[in-house]
């Protein structure tokens, strides 16, 4: 763990450069392919193109939470210096993806279903995910003591992790208006290849985007830790000085 931490930190700058470049390339390919060169659906028509944003955003919404939960578990189990920082860095990014997913879903829902929003199990559990993210952001920053905030946030992140399998399997466990999964279906492929490929490219693009944002946020979090630490030592130093000077 420490080995990988050190390795990642040493190459953070290069990693960030590569992930940014990868994001840009994949995003351009995926968007042009999905929006201009992939066919219209036989039922949804051109509206199907929302899928190329909606589904990758949803995947990353779940993925960012999973990263947050794993980091939180590591942080609660022992002292991994980077775990709290990764968890804190991941939640606003995940919230962003979840918001993109909910907004694009609503825009697709109105013309296709006839409603922007319905309270079915998939949509409701996804909204709960957004609230979990927002709650985590608020809780982590609610304490003056950094460690206590991180600890409370880690517990919330782990409790909320129960929601992830509920989101994933909601379309199988209950009758929902949201359609079941197309890609992980075992039987026949539910999606034509000329739609599946741009979707997968967009999926990779969003993953690279997530890594990029995570790296940026980790760096800024670490800078904040350093600022806090130097401020603390400075305070101690001035206090000690005052004591020695007898003021």
């Amino acid at each position: 763990m420490h080995f990988f931490t050190k390795l990642a930190l040493r190459h953070a700058r290069a990693l960030l450069w590569w992930s940014s470049a990868l994001t840009l390339v994949l995003l351009v390919i995926g968007l042009v392919w999905g929006l201009f060169f992939s066919p219209a659906d036989y039922q949804q028509g051109e509206m199907v193109r929302i899928l190329y944003i909606h589904a990758p955003a949803a995947w990353m919404g779940l993925f960012a939470y999973t990263v947050m939960a794993v980091a939180s578990a590591a942080s609660l189990m022992g002292k991994y210096p980077l775990a709290d920082i990764v968890a804190k860095a991941s939640s606003p990014v995940g919230a962003l993806f979840t918001i993109i997913c909910l907004v694009t879903g609503a825009l697709w829902g109105k013309p296709m279903w006839g409603a922007y929003w319905v309270w079915d199990a998939r949509l409701t559990s996804m909204l709960i995910l957004l609230f979990l993210y927002l709650g985590h952001i608020a809780l982590v920053n609610a304490f003056d003591d950094y460690g206590r905030g991180a600890r409370a946030g880690a517990i919330l992140a782990l409790i909320g992790f129960i929601n992830i399998p509920i989101i994933k399997f909601s379309v199988d466990w209950w009758n929902t208006l949201h359609q079941p999964a197309s890609i992980t279906r075992v039987a026949l492929p539910a999606m034509a290849m000329e739609m599946l490929l741009p979707l997968l490219v967009m999926g990779l693009a969003f993953k690279a985007y997530y890594v990029t944002l995570l790296l940026v946020r980790i760096q800024s979090e670490m800078a904040a830790v350093q600022v806090r630490a130097s401020r603390l030592t400075q305070n101690n130093w001035t206090q000690n000085n005052r004591r020695e000077n007898g003021r």
């Binding site: 066919p39 659906d41 199907v48 279903w113 309270w119 079915d120 209950w174 208006l177 539910a190």
Partner: protein, 163 residues
Amino acid sequence: MSLKKRRLGWLISSLVALGMAIGLLLLAARDTVTFFFSPSELAQLSIKQDRRLRVGGLVAAGSVQRTGTIIHFVITDRVQTVPVIFSGILPDLFREGQGVVAEGRLGTDGVLHASSVLAKHDETYTPRDVAESSLQKKWRGERAPGAAQTTATGGSAPAAITR
């Protein structure tokens, strides 16, 4: 036992307990968590009159009748059927053979007086020019007996409803 292992044990056991509690909660509330009942599920439930509910299934072929602004159609899951009366704006995807969810009150005559009708899209994504090709015919052939009469328009059936 090391501190880390003990903490891991605590973490896993509390998460399992929490998961079971939420699982039981959702199991107990499954009739409210579910977005709609299929006609077969509706037949097994004892629904109180005037309770608002949603019924989902396919629009039976040849069942759509329009008289003025009022529209009659039948929702089927190929086992049971529920007749529906609706007056209002239908979604664009509404057609015979399409998956729909109608919300309203069940009358004493067994007719659902719907106040809203939503289209349910299935998980298949097919380019327009492929939709009527051999691939589509192959899917049609693999459906349950009686599938042909309910899918006159060639839309494929939502998997959730055919269960």
